[in-house]
C-alpha cells in the first residue's frame, strides 16, 4: 500500500473541475484509491463522492493506493496533485 499526503493549494478547494480531473487521472489504474479529508473519505474514482467531501484550501488530504499498479499510480497521482490541486 502507498500513501500520499497533500495539502490543497487551490483557493477554491477541491471544486468540481479538479475533482473531475482527478477521477480521469486515476481511472486507468486497477488499484483501489481512497481520498481522506478532514470531512470524510471517498473513492477517488467517484466524482460526486469526491465533491461531497467539500475539501477546502489548506486541508490535508491523505490518499491511499492499494493494488498491483500502486507504484505507478502513486507516482502519477503525486504529479497530478502538485500540478492541479
Amino acid at each position: 500500500m502507498k500513501e500520499i499526503k497533500h495539502v490543497i493549494n487551490d483557493p477554491l478547494g477541491m471544486h468540481a473541475r479538479p475533482a473531475g480531473m482527478l477521477v480521469k487521472a486515476v481511472a486507468p489504474f486497477a488499484s483501489t484509491i481512497t481520498v481522506t479529508a478532514p470531512t470524510g473519505t471517498a473513492d477517488a474514482k467517484r466524482l460526486m463522492a469526491l465533491m461531497r467531501l467539500a475539501a477546502k484550501q489548506g486541508m490535508e488530504l491523505t490518499i491511499t493506493i492499494e493494488g498491483a499498479d500502486e507504484e505507478k499510480a502513486a507516482a502519477e497521482l503525486q504529479a497530478f496533485l502538485t500540478a492541479n490541486l
Partner: protein, 537 residues
C-alpha cells in the same frame, strides 16, 4: 398587419418579438419491462448526452468564455460518475423505466448537494438536475423548448403553473394564451409581474410563429401581429401615457395607508416564491398577506425536504424583516395536481382532497412544512393560515399539530417564535361559521376567488362561465360583511387576499365593512394606497 382580441388581465402595452410555447411532444416513459433493454436505452442516451454536451462545451468555449465552458464540462464529467450510474442501474433493475431512473437518481443526488453546508456545492445541485433532465428529455424523445435571447411576448395554448414557474420571468413582456380565465394562474402571474396580458385570445399559434413583431394592448384587449406604422405610433403613445401614470403614483411611496377619517389599512402583497418578496418590497408593500406555498412543490418529482422549505421561508422572512408575512399552508389538489403525491384522479377536484384536507389526512406531507415554518419564524414576523377550512374541528386539529411540532422543535433546540394562526376563509361554511372560527383563529383572510366559485357554484377555470362568475354578487358581499363583523366582534383582524382585495370599486366598501388588511399583486399597492388616502370612509 393582423389583429384580434382577448380578455385583458393587466393593463399596459407591450411590443416585441413573439415566442410560441408548445407542450413538449413526449412519449410516455413507460418501462419496456426488460431491465436489459432499459439499460441499453440508458447507455445510448448517455452517448447522445455526451455528444450534445461536448458540442455545447466547444460552443461555450469559443463564444462565451472559459468559465461557462467549465460549467458544461462539469456536467460532462458527472455523466460518467460511477455513483450516479450505479444508482440508475439499481433503479432500472428495480423495474423503473430508463427515463425515470435517470431523473429520479439525479434528483436524489441534487438533494444531497442542496443540503450540504457549502454554498459552492449547493449550487452544483443545479448542474446535476440539468444533466439528469437532459438524459430524461433524450429518453422521452423531447427535443426541448428553446428560448431566444432577450425579452419576448409569450404565446401559448395555455400554461400550467409548473410551466410558468420554469420561465425566465424577467424576460417576459406579456402572456397571450388561447385558454385560461381572468383568475387562471397565468393571469395571476401576469398581475404579479405587472405585464399586460391576454387570456382567451383568438390568436393562432401559427400566426404567432410567423410574426416579426407582436404587440399587446392590455387596455383594450387587442393583439396586433406586425402592426403598421400608425398602429405602432398609437401603441407607443399609450405606453408613454401608462408610464407617466405610474410615475404619478410614486408620491404615495413610503406613505402610511390611512383614510381621511383615520382608518388605517395594511396594504400587503400576494407572493408565490422568495423572489416575489423582493418585488413586493420594491412595490412598497407593507408586508405579505398571502404567500402561496405551492411553488416549492410544483415542477418536480418528489416532495421538497424540510430544509428546502425552511430556506425559502427564511429568505422571505428575512427579506420582509419586521413586516408581517402570512404563509398559506400547502394548497395542492384541484387545478394543481402533483404526480408524486400519488393522489387519485378525482371527478371533481375543486370539491375534493385539497388544501387542509390533504394535510390532515397525510401528516407526512404537512409536518415538514409546519416544522419549516416554525424554524423560519425565528427570522422574521411569520403568520400562517390554513386553506379550505370548512369546520371548527379542522382548525383545532391543525392547531394541535402545530403546537406539537413547535414543542418538538424546541426540544431539539431550534429557536421558534409565536406564529399567529389564521383561517383563509374561502368556503361558504367557514364564512357562515365565522363567529365560531374567530374564537379559535388569530385572524381571517378571505380568499375571494374560491369563495366566489363555491358560493355561486361557478367553476372559475371554465371560461364559458365568465358572466356567471360575478364577484359583485350580493350573496358574496353579504358573506364578506358577516366575516368582517365576526372578526371585529371577537377582537381579531380580517383581511382579503383574493383578487377582489385590489378592486378599486370595492376597496372602500371593504374598509367600511371592517377589513383592515388588503393583500394584492404587488403592482397594485401604490394605486390602492392612493385610493385609501383619498377615501372619506
Amino acid at each position: 398587419m393582423k389583429k384580434g382580441i382577448g380578455l385583458p388581465v393587466f393593463p399596459g402595452v407591450a411590443i416585441g418579438p413573439a415566442v410560441v410555447y408548445r407542450k413538449a411532444q413526449r412519449t410516455l416513459p413507460v418501462s419496456s419491462g426488460d431491465p436489459a433493454l432499459e439499460k441499453a436505452k440508458f447507455t445510448a442516451a448517455l452517448d447522445t448526452a455526451r455528444e450534445q454536451l461536448t458540442a455545447l462545451y466547444e460552443k461555450a468555449k469559443a463564444e462565451i468564455g472559459e468559465e461557462q465552458a467549465a460549467i458544461v464540462e462539469v456536467q460532462l464529467l458527472m455523466l460518467d460518475d460511477l455513483d450516479y450510474l450505479d444508482g440508475v442501474n439499481l433503479a432500472i433493475e428495480g423495474g423503473a423505466a430508463a427515463a425515470i431512473a435517470a431523473l429520479d437518481t439525479g434528483e436524489e443526488f441534487a438533494q444531497i448537494f442542496a443540503a450540504m453546508d457549502d454554498e459552492y456545492m449547493n449550487a452544483r445541485s443545479a448542474d446535476i438536475r440539468d444533466m439528469s433532465h437532459r438524459l430524461y428529455d433524450i429518453l422521452c424523445g423531447n427535443t426541448g423548448f428553446q428560448l431566444p435571447e432577450g425579452s419576448f411576448l409569450l404565446v401559448a395554448e395555455d400554461l400550467a403553473p409548473s410551466e410558468t414557474i420554469q420561465l425566465p420571468r424577467e424576460r417576459i413582456m406579456a402572456f397571450i394564451t388561447r385558454q385560461g380565465s381572468s383568475s387562471s394562474h397565468t393571469a395571476i402571474l401576469a398581475r404579479t409581474l405587472n405585464i399586460p396580458s391576454l387570456v382567451q385570445s383568438d390568436i393562432t399559434l401559427e400566426t404567432a410563429d410567423e410574426c416579426q413583431i407582436l404587440a399587446v394592448d392590455g387596455f383594450t384587449g387587442t393583439w396586433y401581429v406586425d402592426p403598421d406604422e400608425e398602429t405602432l405610433a398609437m401603441l407607443r403613445a399609450k405606453q408613454a401615457e401608462a408610464a407617466a401614470a405610474r410615475n404619478a403614483l410614486e408620491q404615495y411611496r413610503g406613505k402610511e395607508s390611512v383614510t381621511r377619517s383615520g382608518k388605517k389599512v395594511l396594504l400587503v402583497a400576494n407572493i408565490g416564491c422568495p423572489e416575489d418578496a423582493v418585488d413586493a418590497l420594491k412595490a412598497d408593500a407593507e408586508g405579505v398577506g398571502l404567500m402561496r406555498s405551492e411553488f416549492l412543490y410544483l415542477g418536480r418529482n418528489s416532495l421538497p425536504t424540510e430544509d428546502e422549505l425552511f430556506e425559502a421561508y427564511k429568505q422571505v422572512a428575512e427579506t420582509m424583516a419586521h413586516r408581517p408575512v402570512v404563509i398559506r399552508t400547502l394548497d395542492i389538489g384541484a387545478d394543481k395536481q402533483v404526480s408524486y403525491l400519488g393522489l387519485e384522479a378525482e371527478e371533481n377536484p375543486a370539491l375534493g382532497l385539497r388544501g387542509l384536507r390533504i394535510c390532515l389526512t397525510n401528516e407526512e406531507i404537512f409536518r415538514p412544512q409546519l416544522r419549516a415554518i416554525y424554524r423560519a419564524s425565528a427570522y422574521g414576523n411569520l403568520h400562517m393560515m390554513f386553506p379550505m377550512v370548512a369546520s371548527v374541528w379542522e382548525l383545532k386539529a391543525a392547531k394541535a399539530l402545530c403546537a406539537k411540532v413547535r414543542k418538538e422543535l424546541e426540544d431539539e433546540g431550534y429557536p421558534t417564535k409565536d406564529v399567529p394562526i389564521g383561517v383563509m376563509v374561502e368556503t361558504p361554511a367557514a364564512a357562515v361559521l365565522a363567529n365560531e372560527l374567530a374564537k379559535e383563529a388569530a385572524f381571517f383572510s378571505v380568499g375571494t376567488n374560491d369563495l366566489t366559485q363555491y358560493t355561486l357554484a361557478v367553476d372559475r377555470q371554465n371560461a364559458k362561465l365568465g358572466e356567471f362568475y360575478d364577484p359583485y354578487h350580493p350573496a358574496l358581499l353579504a358573506l364578506m360583511a358577516h366575516i368582517a363583523k365576526a372578526a371585529n366582534d371577537n377582537g381579531i383582524w380580517a383581511g382579503i387576499c383574493g383578487e377582489l382585495g385590489a378592486d378599486p370599486k370595492l376597496q372602500e366598501k371593504f374598509i367600511e365593512m371592517g377589513y383592515t388588511e388588503l393583500s394584492m399583486a404587488a403592482g397594485r399597492i401604490l394605486e390602492s394606497r392612493k385610493l385609501v388616502c383619498e377615501s372619506d370612509v
